[in-house]
């Protein structure tokens, strides 16, 4: 762990110094990353950074050639604290350090304002985790994402609730963050489209841990399924409070589950909880286990959530540069748009808007002390 942080910062410092001295060596290709490295979602930002680091390390080992010269890829890492204003500031920093591509930002709220700055500078941006449909609807040709957007995942989850779980009376809650609200709205739409019945549509906020009021409403409405778009620290108390209130309904969450801590946080209430995650289960993919192992060896922590997507995003960009023979966005952007690459999360190929052509998502259920894969959905 010590090596990780020290190494990352030293690298970033070295790169900064390097630019500062104004030495331009043709073969250095800078790959930008921006995400929360401090603050409440720091571990998720660091996870993304880990994925990029693995990809860069592999690329450097392979001595890839761009336009005849061996390219040396370097990471330029910036912390946006998940704050939109800081996001634009670090976007400017990345543009100033002349990165060839930006992998990020982690959140939609930072990705959208930052995308304007990247677009003005002509730097392609590939987000491994921003799911707000608005990001790729802005008409910026150089914005991509390697994860399903809210609309897609919401549709999968809504269909699953109505068709597979056969829920008749569904309660839908969200945490009123950009992420949770976007998803819950899409799930609501999907449930209605699939002929399901939304009996409660309520909200809380991302600070609250008391859901008794809305759960009691759900109980009064005899809900048989509860969908909650929020992170684990809220999903766990909600699962507990459902149990305490005697609300016997299935509980489905989209946030940052499945993870290891949930068992400890929710105790016995964890049993039977459904959770969606992006992509196919890592271990089902040909390169998945090797990736997880590499991550553990290098950083001491496995996949938190978005590192596989970040890894794929980085490789997609590197491949495009190699194929185009240039790290200049103008030259490699058309290649990036049309290429197709087999990553650890699946096939990385973009549609005309910059979304994945065939994004997958997996639903898990907690049972017998661990998460079990229930189903993999894709277009």
């Amino acid at each position: 762990m010590k090596k990780n942080i020290g190494g990352r910062t030293a690298l970033a410092t070295a790169v900064t110094l390097f630019m500062a001295m104004g030495i331009a060596q043709a073969e250095v290709v800078k790959i930008g990353f921006a995400g929360p490295l401090t603050g409440p979602s720091a571990h998720q930002g660091q996870d993304v950074e880990h994925g990029i680091q693995i990809a860069i390390e592999e690329a450097n080992q392979q001595q890839l050639k761009i336009g005849g010269e061996v390219a040396e890829f370097k990471l330029v890492s910036e912390d946006d604290v998940a704050d939109p204003r800081t996001g634009t500031a670090v976007a400017q920093r990345l543009v100033d350090s002349k990165v060839a591509v930006v992998i990020g930002h982690y959140n939609s709220g930072t990705s959208i304002p930052a995308s304007k700055i990247y677009a003005a500078a002509g730097v392609p941006q590939i987000s491994p985790s921003a799911t707000n449909p608005a990001l790729t609807q802005q008409g910026i040709p150089s914005v991509f994402r390697v994860v399903n957007d809210d609309a897609t995942l919401g549709r999968y989850a809504g269909n699953y609730l109505v068709n597979k779980l056969e829920a008749k009376r569904i309660a839908i809650f969200d945490d009123r963050t950009a992420y949770g609200q976007g998803l819950a709205d899409e799930v609501t739409k999907a449930v209605k489209a699939a002929g399901g019945n939304v009996v409660v549509r309520e909200y809380t906020n991302d600070k609250s841990t008391d859901f008794n009021a809305i759960l009691t409403t759900a109980k009064a409405q005899k809900a048989d399924a509860v969908f909650f778009a929020a992170l684990d620290y809220q999903a766990a108390p909600m699962a507990k409070q459902m149990k305490n209130l005697g609300l016997k309904a299935r509980f489905m969450n989209i946030g940052n589950l499945p993870n290891e801590q949930f068992k400890q946080m929710a105790g016995s209430a964890a049993n039977g909880v459904y959770a969606w995650n992006y992509g196919t289960p890592l271990l089902d993919m040909p390169k998945g286990a090797a990736f997880e192992q590499k991550l553990k060896d290098k950083f001491g922590v496995g996949v938190v959530q978005s590192s596989p997507a970040a890894y794929d995003a980085t490789w997609a960009a590197i491949n495009a540069m190699v194929k185009a023979g240039s790290a200049d966005p103008k030259t490699y952007l058309p290649v990036l748009k049309s290429e197709s690459y087999e990553g650890v999360t699946g096939t990385i190929a973009f549609d005309d808007k910059g979304n994945l052509k065939s994004p997958a998502a997996t639903v898990f259920q907690f049972a017998d002390g661990g998460w079990k894969t229930m189903s993999v959905e894709r277009n």
Binding site: G39, P113, R176, A178
Partner: protein, 415 residues
């Protein structure tokens, strides 16, 4: 006096030259010009809050709400959002010279609306109530995507037009761009110097800041300004002198809100995106820290405080990057997890704000760079006994033991 004028002129010229200088230094570059641009917005906020707290002595903890109102106003009137929500026929594109005064007026009206019910309250209650109002504004913005999608809720409003001038229609069909006569989004050149968009924004913000400083200064020495200060120092005496307490307080709220609203408009256009998370309580506290650190009631102090506290987080970012590897390698007696938490730039930043408030209030309530008048008030070499402490001024350096004799007066000023 003439000397002062040259000084001010030089200072202004210096601030105009600053972005070009910063832009040219490779270590800094446009990144720091952007940071300076945001610093100007904070200066504006701090100047506005200074009117409310510094002049009139009303502790407003929900000040960021006015900033939010300005920001959302611009976002609604200069972005495709309302059109997309089906509320307007075309994409609104109101001209700047309409939006800025409109935001100022809207914020002022909100200031009065918030101020009116809490006028009777003093000091501490006022702080909590305004804090509540600030949160209420934010929560409404976070939730007003239904029943009618006014604010787009937590998703925020994107695609906000950059600052521009045009003389065309106030709205246009979706997909059709307006043809701005002058847009800050374009580079231009000034005496052969290339002025990039970030620099244009900075210069425009600087212009507004200078206007507001002049306005603040005029207010400070005006009848109204002196009345505010009289009210701040001793409400009862001020009322006895025939000052209209209600109108004066409302005016302070309205004036302060105006600055916040204008700053919000600029923020929204600069960033091109607004969402409720930019207007949290922590932002209010940050602006408060700027005013307190610089010196309540001192324009120069407040400007200094705002500059220091808005540039500081960026310095921290670099500082932490430099220090962290060294500390991680050399400090072994503290757990790594704690070290990493301690060296977290955003935590450090808030910690510094907290300590700034504590230390300034405890040891130097007049702030780092108080106005001459305030300093004179607080550090009086005059042998006459110090005036009775008034409920809403800053500290009086009197030992606690002496104060017991002031009992009747103290009670009177509470009434």
């Amino acid at each position: 006096m003439k000397n002062h004028k040259t000084q001010y002129l030089l200072l202004i010229l210096g601030f105009i030259a600053l972005p070009f200088l910063v832009d040219a230094i490779p270590m800094l570059g446009p990144t720091w010009v952007r940071i300076l641009g945001f610093a100007m917005l904070y200066v504006l906020l701090a100047l506005g809050l200074n009117i409310v707290i510094g002049y009139a002595g009303l502790l407003d903890m929900g000040y960021i709400g006015f900033y939010a109102i300005g920001a959302y106003l611009y976002a609604l009137l200069a972005s495709p959002h309302l059109n997309m929500a089906g509320l307007t026929g075309g994409v609104l594109d109101w001209p700047l010279w309409v939006i800025i005064p409109l935001a100022a007026v809207a914020a002022a009206i909100c200031g009065v609306l918030i101020g009116a019910p809490v006028l009777k309250l003093r000091g501490d209650y006022l702080a909590i109530v305004t804090l509540g109002f600030g949160e209420i504004i934010r929560i409404f913005m976070n939730n007003l995507d239904q029943p009618v999608n006014l604010t787009n809720g937590p998703q925020g409003i994107s695609n906000i037009a950059p600052l521009h001038m045009d003389f065309g229609a106030w709205s246009h069909a979706p997909g059709q761009g307006a043809a701005p006569v002058l847009s800050l989004q374009e580079s231009w050149s000034l005496f052969g110097l290339n002025v990039s968009p970030v620099i244009s924004y900075y210069l425009f913000f600087l212009f507004i800041v200078i206007l507001c400083i002049v306005l603040s200064k005029r207010l400070e020495v005006s009848r109204i300004g002196r009345a505010w200060m009289a009210l701040r120092e001793d409400e009862v005496a001020a009322e006895a002198m025939g000052l209209n307490k209600r109108n004066l307080k409302l005016l302070a709220f309205a004036m302060g809100a105006t600055f916040g609203g204008v700053s919000g408009v600029l923020f929204s256009s600069y960033q091109g995106f607004v969402s409720p998370e930019s207007f949290t309580l922590m932002e209010s506290i940050m602006v408060l820290a700027m005013v307190v650190l610089g010196g309540m009631g001192s324009i120069r102090g407040v400007v200094l405080g705002a500059l220091i506290l808005s540039v500081m987080p960026e310095l921290f970012r670099d500082l932490v990057n430099w220090i962290q590897p060294w500390v991680m390698d050399n400090v072994t007696f503290v757990s790594r997890d704690i070290l990493r938490n301690v060296l977290d730039a955003s935590t450090l930043r808030m910690l510094v704000f907290g300590f700034a408030l504590i230390l300034v209030m405890r040891f130097r309530p007049e702030g780092l760079w108080p106005s001459d008048r305030r300093r004179a008030e607080l550090h009086d070499a005059d042998p006459e006994p110090a005036p009775v402490p008034a409920a809403l001024s800053t500290a009086v350096h009197a030992p606690a033991s002496e104060a017991s004799f002031e009992y009747p007066a103290k009670e009177a000023d509470k009434a």
